[in-house]
């Protein structure tokens, strides 16, 4: 940690893997920057503070914001972090670095296809668009390139999992009988969950939406594709969350000054996510016609039990922090809180993210309540909720984790720790304001996903405060979040220019209660996979069967929107493209 004789950094030991991790992070952060820009445009537009764009273009902005942040930002960060975690914890290089680069390349290609198709929606002349939002509910239709990009991206993530399982199996060959290292265990269980979860979206895209957008089939069944989307759409939130959990379990205790409380409980938590993440997706469809109440009830019950791993995590994380604080000399019932390293942006970022996750957990419990959900479904309450979870618990942990990890990937120290500290605190404050305003607005019935929640025939009745106060709060919060993102990206960009130096290496201490305390069955990934698949079949076979029986595999009609005139070709008129470049050059300074 100190001089030239200190611990070697990750980049010292695994330069090629470190380069892959850096590349994944860079794609992730480009998406974060663009997503934040689209975020502030929306926050100011829908609150009518500042309208820079036409309201019809709002939905292009919203689609880009959603897809760039929850697909590109989060998942590229995940693959970078997991490549680091698997290499570090197995202490062996990738089996074949060309393969590793190939899956990262496929994911990038897919992201460029999908992201580019969305952004082309700003240019009407080309006639290519994908204004279908993150959920792409048919019969809203995107250009075939949108779905193609999604498929390529998914294949890239599947191959990433293959790469990590290969590393694990090679390690297992050399280390028979040893327990799976904790970080590797987390990577592998996350990928098992991901393989199961993506079955739904892969079927929806490959067998229905892509052929339909190419004009090969006339109609799709909107309820079926929607249900297949949510088969994937709920577990994907844990795909965002589990990298944050990996950091909370394995890095946060160290930077708090201590050690993880319990390795076995961490394994139990990840196994519970494998089992319960997928058979719950119908809780996003409580208000859907065509799905029997009993199926919704099953999803609700599973969802409530899915609270358990997060509640266990809350305990472990706080206990590990308390242990760290006491190691640092903290005393008293709550006095130990003062002994925590609050000046360290990596610590403070993760601790504040954890705090916000608790709040997000509570609003999530309300969403999960099948009957009270009727009050908040599709209101601004819902984005209020997920800006606490993915928007803070995940995003802020990822940014804080970057502050800790980046120097070990580059041998360059962070440009400014005070700016980093200010950045995480501004994020916390900005999200506090924005998310509070969103939750309250939702209770008054103000909808999500709209450019102008101002109506001619009626006004929203507020039981306290006023809609304009809430809008102001939302706009200020959104602006703070944008400032925070700029500080994060700027600080990181400047960190690429700081002089290299030795001694930035960090080690991770073992848990207080180690893996040998836990039953070996926890490491039986085959068993958990089989049980998870059985639960998925129990939760989904009957509802999917009844949807197909009621309204057919391809639905009972309905037309795509927007109407694409030449369905089979994404035909681009070269003249129009040249004209657009001319227009762009004139706009640029």
């Amino acid at each position: 940690m100190s001089s030239q004789t200190g611990t070697p950094t990750f980049v010292d030991r695994y330069p090629e893997e470190a380069s892959v991790v850096r590349q994944a992070f860079l794609v992730s952060f480009v998406a974060l920057g663009l997503g934040a820009l689209f975020g502030i445009i929306q926050a100011l537009h829908r609150t009518n503070v500042l309208r820079l764009i036409d309201s019809a273009d709002y939905y292009t902005v919203l689609t880009a914001h959603g897809v760039l942040l929850v697909i590109v930002f989060t998942i590229f960060f995940l693959v970078g972090l997991y490549q680091w975690a698997i290499t570090r914890s197995l202490d062996r290089p990738a089996e074949n670095i060309t393969f590793t680069r190939a899956w990262l390349g496929l994911m990038s290609l897919g992201s460029v296809l999908t992201g580019g198709t969305i952004l082309l929606g700003f240019v009407d002349e080309i006639g290519i668009s994908a204004d279908v939002l993150f959920t792409f509910y048919a019969p809203l239709q995107a250009h075939p390139l949108f779905y193609t990009g999604l498929a390529v991206f998914l294949i890239g993530t599947w191959l990433a999992g293959v790469d990590w399982f290969r590393s694990y199996l090679a390690w297992r060959g050399d280390n028979p009988g040893e327990r799976i290292p904790l970080q590797t265990f987390m990577v592998l269980t996350t990928m098992v969950m991901w393989y199961i979860a993506t079955i739904g979206v892969a079927i929806s895209v490959l067998f229905f939406l892509l052929p339909w957008s190419l004009g090969l089939i006339d109609t799709v069944n909107p309820l079926l594709t929607r249900t297949l989307f949510w088969f994937f759409g709920h577990p994907v939130v844990y795909f965002w969350l589990l990298p944050a959990y990996l950091l909370w379990y394995t890095v946060l205790p160290k930077i708090a000054g201590g050690r993880l409380f319990s390795d076995p409980l961490a394994r139990v938590v990840f196994v519970l996510f494998v089992l319960l993440s997928t058979p719950v997706g119908i809780h996003h469809q409580y208000l859907d016609p065509g799905i029997a109440e009993g199926f919704k009830f099953i999803a609700m019950t599973n969802t409530m039990f899915l609270l358990l791993p997060s509640l266990l995590t809350a305990f472990t994380v706080v206990a590990s922090m308390e242990h760290g604080a006491r190691q640092r000399g903290g005393t008293g019932l709550f006095g130990w809180l003062k002994a925590l390293p609050w000046r360290d942006p990596a610590f403070t970022g993760m601790a504040l993210a954890g705090l916000m996750f608790a709040a997000g957990g509570f609003s999530g419990m309300i969403n999960a309540g099948m009957n009270i959900n009727y009050l908040v479904h599709n209101t601004l309450w819902v984005p209020g909720h997920f800006h606490l979870t993915v928007g803070t618990a995940v995003a802020l942990t990822m940014m804080a984790g970057t502050y800790w990890l980046w120097p070990q990937l580059t041998n360059r120290p962070l440009y400014s720790r005070p700016i980093a500290l200010a950045q995480v605190v501004i994020w916390f404050g900005g999200m506090g304001l924005m998310s509070n305003a969103m939750h309250v607005s939702g209770l008054f019935g103000i909808p999500r996903r709209t450019a102008e929640p101002q109506y001619e025939g009626f006004d929203f009745a507020t039981s306290f405060g006023s809609v304009s106060e809430l809008n102001l709060q939302l706009a200020i919060g959104g602006s703070l979040l944008f400032v925070s993102t700029v500080l994060f990206l700027g600080n990181l960009a400047l960190s690429m220019g700081t002089p290299t130096r030795d001694g930035l290496g960090q080690t991770l201490p073992p848990a207080l209660s180690g893996p040998t305390d836990s039953p070996a069955v926890l490491d039986n990934l085959r068993l958990w996979t089989v049980i998870a698949l059985v639960l998925v079949v129990l939760a989904y076979a009957l509802p999917l069967g009844s949807i197909v029986a009621e309204s057919g595999l391809f639905g009972s009609g309905g037309n795509p929107y927007p109407v694409v005139i030449e369905p089979l070709v994404g035909w681009i008129d070269p003249g129009a493209v040249i004209e657009i470049f001319h227009d762009l050059l004139e706009v640029l300074p």
Partner: protein, 166 residues
């Protein structure tokens, strides 16, 4: 496997809370009779709603002493009919379907809320008491004019009620 006593306590309390949540939802459904939207509505062909016996002429229809059925079509970017007029102190069942893409149907400020999916009919029953006016909004993105899609539900005094379209 060693689990700390405090952690066991926490685990136990968490499970109690989870079971409690499930119990409240169950009570809401079984005891208090909160009805969910389910698969009781029919399926329809969104391309031929004009030929449908009910959706061919959407609107309010009295089906019992204080009971009314309302058939509503959501389409880009209107609700039909608009406004919807029903008498106070009655039980109203909405049947909502879509003529094109997925929409939402929310009576603002209440829990009368449904997804409107082409091919499916959302059926929801509400009790209306005092005369009042409620906004109806589409809460699911349905195209470039989504933000203009609104309607009105007017609950009028029983003696002023005169059919469903005034």
């Amino acid at each position: 496997m060693h689990i700390h006593d405090y952690e066991k306590l926490w685990l136990g309390l968490s499970l109690v809370m989870i079971v409690g949540f499930i119990a409240t939802v169950t009570y809401g459904a079984v005891g208090a009779g909160v009805e969910m939207i389910d698969d009781s509505g029919d399926t329809v062909d969104p391309n031929s709603l004009a030929d449908h016996p009910e959706f061919g002429d959407p609107g309010v229809e009295q089906v019992g002493p204080n009971e009314y059925d309302v058939h509503v079509i959501a389409r880009q970017f209107v609700f039909q009919p608009d406004p919807i007029v029903v008498p106070a102190n009655s039980t109203v069942t909405f049947y909502v379907t879509s003529a094109d893409v997925t929409h939402g149907f929310e009576v603002v400020g209440t829990n009368a809320n449904a997804m409107v999916i082409p091919g499916e009919v959302a059926e929801l029953t509400v009790e209306v008491n005092e005369p009042n006016e409620y906004g109806i909004i589409c809460h699911e993105y349905c195209g470039s004019g989504h933000h203009d899609m609104e309607g009105l539900l007017r609950v009028v005094p029983e003696d002023e009620y005169d059919g469903g379209d005034r």
